[in-house]
Symmetry: C2
Subunit: 252 residues, 2 copies
């Protein structure tokens, strides 16, 4: 029974895509069957694995034209890792969905067909609380919240939690917080440890013990279209996503 996890935070640039791509890649290597869904019109998750945006059918057709989701799943060169990349039309989809009564449930209904083929399904969300993020939260069993260890990133947390509560109340009663992941932790400044303290006060044991440090290799890897464990497996970035994958599995 595949676990569906949305990776979301409306604050921009906090490491959502980096976490989605690298967690998916590491878990695939550990013989888990993984599907990575990119629902951010920017299409970064696809390109982090070497996929360019095309006009082939994708999540857009699933959400807008009821295309069966099996038709848009692509295999990657990595064993056990499939992907649904975005296509160029997704940017305009939000307007098109705004009248539909079931607009927030389209992804959830589509995933029924394939849910049991995978061990994990990760959904990379855009930096907004839009219909795409609501679709992801409605479809998901749980959310992973990447939290950049910098001041502005703390500000958006209250808004994000309000949205999670809204979704739990009206759209998906069973949605849980899988975990809060501290990212871009910088040991040379108190800023990061201050943010960590606040996160632990707010989220308690939901904060992952694994912390992702700021590591330039994580920023370089996407320019080669490679996950970090392919680009530089000995980097601190690769080791920390490896640890995160183990912690995620152990949490059950």
């Amino acid at each position: 029974m595949g676990k569906i996890i949305a990776i979301t935070n409306q604050k921009g640039g906090v490491g959502k895509t980096t976490t989605a791509v690298n967690l998916a890649a590491v878990l695939a290597k550990k013989e888990n069957k993984i599907l990575l869904i990119d629902i951010d019109a920017q299409g970064n998750a696809g390109s982090g694995l070497g996929y360019e945006k095309s006009d082939e059918k994708s999540i857009y057709e699933v959400l807008i034209e009821n295309e069966p989701i099996q038709n848009v799943i692509k295999s990657t060169e990595y064993e056990n890792l499939d992907i649904i990349p975005v296509n160029i039309h997704l940017a305009g989809a939000e307007e098109q969905m705004s009248e539909a009564p079931d607009k927030n449930l389209r992804l959830k209904n589509a995933l029924r067909e394939v849910r049991n083929i995978y061990d994990f399904i990760f959904i990379d969300c855009p930096p907004s609380l839009s219909v795409f993020t609501l679709n992801a939260m409605a479809a998901a069993d749980s959310v992973i919240i990447p939290l950049q260890c910098e001041y502005y990133a703390l500000e958006g947390l209250a808004e994000l939690l309000k949205t999670v509560k809204f979704v739990q109340q009206y759209v998906n009663n069973d949605l849980k917080i899988e975990g809060v992941l501290l990212t871009m932790y910088n040991t040379t400044t108190n800023l990061s440890s201050d943010v960590m303290e606040q996160a632990i006060t707010y989220f308690k044991d939901k904060v992952y013990k694994t912390i992702i440090p700021r590591n330039v290799k994580l920023a370089e890897a996407p320019s080669h279209g490679l996950p970090i464990d392919e680009y530089d497996p000995r980097s601190v970035g690769a080791k920390s996503y490896e640890k995160l994958a183990v912690e995620l599995i152990n949490n059950g």
Copy 2:
């Protein structure tokens, strides 16, 4: 005649707010009368200057209830610098505006009243191409595009330019690109120089000569509610925003 500049890029975390806050603060110190408008529901621009989100009237009431914009302008402790912070209601405004025929022109119309009081009006945009960003582009004379010197940030440029062209064609014929600002430039990796080369190929002389380096002081300053020239005026972050302000003025 005040110049209205939207600071925008739908890629998240590229330095939009950091640029809006610090450019506004530096120019105010140089005796320019400045208004900083925060139109991102996250409200980071306000807190970068020490303002907390409240439920006092703000840009929400201007956009939704036709509140005169003069009523929501607040002075700050910095001479020549006024601000319109967001309030807690802005997050819900997008749905409320979706039916209005003039939804993209609300800010432009509101600013007519105050435009001539200021030398510059900066608008800090959210990381999406939503109605708020369209309002900002419709109201603006030009846009500053912060471009983080990392790979994923390049991907969103084509989408952003499409939106600028759309706005120029249907909403605001006179919208120009004020400049493209390279941010978080990291000298320890080729990644940044690769991005710079691509930006110069794409945008030619629109790329500012001033480059903002990655500088932890810029990330620390907001946690003290201070612009960089107050928090650490000798930092390389402060000096680079000072240079940018001079370049912006010289470009005329």
